[in-house]
Symmetry: C2
Subunit: 245 residues, 2 copies
Amino acid sequence: MEVPKGHPRYESLKKREALLDFYERGIVTVSGLISQGRGEAFDYLIGEKSQDFALDAEKAAVARMAQSKRPVISVNGNVAALAGPEVVKFAKRYNLTVEANIFYWSKERIERIVDHFRGLGMDVLGLNQDARIPGLESDRGRCEREGIFSADTVLVPLEDGDRAEALKRMGKFVITIDLNPLSRTSRFGDITIVDEVQRAFANFANFDEGDCARLLKSFDNSSNVRRSIARISERLSSMKEWPEL
Amino acid sequence: MEVPKGHPRYESLKKREALLDFYERGIVTVSGLISQGRGEAFDYLIGEKSQDFALDAEKAAVARMAQSKRPVISVNGNVAALAGPEVVKFAKRYNLTVEANIFYWSKERIERIVDHFRGLGMDVLGLNQDARIPGLESDRGRCEREGIFSADTVLVPLEDGDRAEALKRMGKFVITIDLNPLSRTSRFGDITIVDEVQRAFANFANFDEGDCARLLKSFDNSSNVRRSIARISERLSSMKEWPEL
């Protein structure tokens, strides 16, 4: 099944293909496939592009990561499938630590994610989980002392709500990427990015750093989230037809 | 992973479990899992219950099925996973033909769906595909002459847009069930039901037939679809928080 380039939903269908490929390679789980479907639906509502509310949150996030002492990016199977090269480009530009950290724990799957990033030219943490995020049941809380455990700022794309909350309780500055602006994960974000992960990481890597620093100074996360909800609702009421799901 | 009964999203999580179970049994495809995720997102927007616009369309649909000469219900893997017993109860009450008809064709998968319904006490068509829906590539168009091919009214829950369009072009009366009121499938419905399939079939089986006949007389599908879109948009703009996805 080749997706023709001219298809109105080319980008979305290519992402779905990537997910299926990574599912077959044992990196994405069946739950990850269902999550992708939810993401697709919210991305329609958002318009399948990075809206102004997303770009502002993304600039603030880059400035915050650049100013942090121990910033860490957490990556799971879906992030690896959707945005591997973009994560690497961003992490290299700002010298950020990346840690493979998955919701349904499996040693093999962590190893495959680490191998995948190694193939993209980047060593990531995750093989040596020697610490725990307090308040989560054992496998859910696994992380590395040198990575997420001692981070001051964590960027958690496609994260579970309980984990986002647990990281917040540890006193970390939490940056979320989630297409649903009203999810628990989004609610626990100190900076809440409502955008698709591949677009978000591609943007991160390309912003002007001065722009980002200026944006962060005046950034108000609550009002930015409210702006995203208002815009999605307006868009929905004005739409005559969505492209085929 | 037992889902506790008190969980605010118990019903939704049980449905997800059912999908995963049917995926492991070779009845649901990986694409079906992604579809389920999209459905979950739209069902949040709708409120995870059968709204008035859904109940009206469902009553009209029951009346239309009851008044048709050759009404057929098309069932795929996701419908089998989500609403098998409800489909059987409805079909038996109104003596309706059911045909297994899947998007990604596989003999084994058709057989498993037929077996599943036989286990629920109902013989369904689908093993003897001897006709084609014109205008669809070969495997996509397969159907039974005694079933979908010669039906005057087809109920197509969770159907692909191209197939819904092709059935319309054959001159059939098409009743769709789709959680996205703006999908191409929904647009091709003569009656467009915006509801979750298990809820829809459970409602079908329980309505008073006289009520349904009265409702059909004044039913206007376009205005009912517009009502659903307006309601979803209102709901979104008034929501403070969604439950965890």
